[in-house]
Subunit: 222 residues, 2 copies
DNA sequence: CTCTAAAGTTTGAGTACTCAAACTCTTGAG
DNA sequence: CTCAAGAGTTTGAGTACTCAAACTTTAGAG
């Protein structure tokens, strides 16, 4: 089994690779995400490469191998199942759950995570709307688009809030902006770079485009 | 917060000190429990002493300080709450739960352990019958005596099975020897150093005195 | 095409933990 | 009272991870 540190590097690489258009991650970015210096990241990548978990040419981009991607997906699965468990079973707050799962994900055995999966009825998304990979590593992602791409008058449903920080999540929760809620775009002002959105049953709220970019809504609706 | 390693040393010391008549733990024993060499244990004890978690004279016995005992009790509380949770909520097997809790106990925050405590209704004993310290570190231990001290004809109730190994716990469970069950001593043969005990609703089983010593029963009954 | 800023690498050192093996101290059997 | 055996200590070295700082390479602006 990989160490806790290795698991964290793999998880960060999975996100970074999937975000990047080239599918490759950069060292400086990786180091920043993990809160280490770039020298540290360099030597760690070298070790991951020796373990066939990543492919990295000297001075080139980093990609996960099949083995590395599988291991990273498994960490992500544990993380998201734990977040779901902490919210649904232990009634912890949506906005505080990320940090807790971050610590637990390295300590849960396959036995325990399977039991949690069963207890929750094999959920397909976590409390933020992020898809939970199944046991074989497959993800069934609901297609979505950023809220920031919506126009005035659009009615849709919130799918995902892509943020780990407690502060934004707390703000979102206070305005009803949680996965599954019906959403109406009451106004969209390109000049002010902000939009007025209303979650069903809540007061409308102005969001800057940057903030609206963190919120994903159903792709098919208008 | 103490590291995972430090927490393990403290937990081992708590057990060792409480088992010892002098209240002091020995290094060789400690090292054996933790699976490290005695040299490793020596240097670790030195560091614990610097952190005021233990008191240790050179070539003398080791005792926990108030601070050290408090920290150790907290680890024990987390461990036993987790075992209870794994059995009651996740339906894991009684006999496999110790190892899982061993890994999780270092990763659960106070927030999570309090939520688990509440979910379980503030249990006072874990699945093995061991008392769970409360949030302030207090333990309400039921008075008990070893089953091996019982005589033929005694009827009593099983309080605790003091063993961490899966094998013995599995054996005990198969014969109904679990905390809370009514127990009858059908026969006790001092020569053969064994006794025939029956858990209510199960077939009688012969136990060697050594095995019966791991089982505690109610103190007051006959 | 050149030059510099950013990206990536290397080096030397430090922390936390570990071992093996050589050592010293304490204690109790005779 | 002596002296082995066991308990405890020290030393030197190794692994996994980290940093700071000096260094090299790449790539894009001009």
């Amino acid at each position: 089994m990989a160490t806790e540190t290795v698991e964290n590097y793999l998880k960060a690489l999975l996100t970074l690779c999937d975000e990047s258009p080239t599918g490759e991650a950069g060292l400086v970015r990786l180091a920043a995400v993990l809160g280490v210096t770039k020298g540290t990241a360099t030597s760690m990548i070298k070790r991951l490469a020796e373990g066939k978990l990543v492919k990295a040419e000297r001075y080139g981009g980093i990609t996960l191998t099949g083995k590395g991607r599988r291991a990273a997906t498994d960490v992500l699965r544990r993380h998201r199942l734990l977040e779901t468990f902490l919210v649904r079973t232990l009634k912890l707050d949506w906005s505080t759950v990320h940090a807790e799962a971050e610590r637990l994900e390295h300590a849960v055995s396959p036995l325990v995570i399977d039991a949690i999966d069963a207890l929750l009825g094999h959920p397909s998304v976590d409390p933020h709307g992020d898809p939970i990979p199944d046991k074989s590593g497959q993800t069934r992602a609901a297609s979505s688009r950023p809220l920031s791409a919506c126009a005035m008058g659009d009615k849709t449903r919130l799918v995902r809030v892509a943020d780990q920080e407690g502060a934004f999540l707390g703000f979102a929760a206070r305005h009803g902006l949680m996965p599954g809620v019906r959403l109406t775009v009451l106004d969209a002002d390109p000049q002010a770079q902000s939009m007025l959105v209303q979650a069903q049953g809540h007061d409308p709220v102005w969001l800057a485009t940057a903030a609206a970019g963190k919120i994903a809504v159903e792709a098919g609706s208008d």
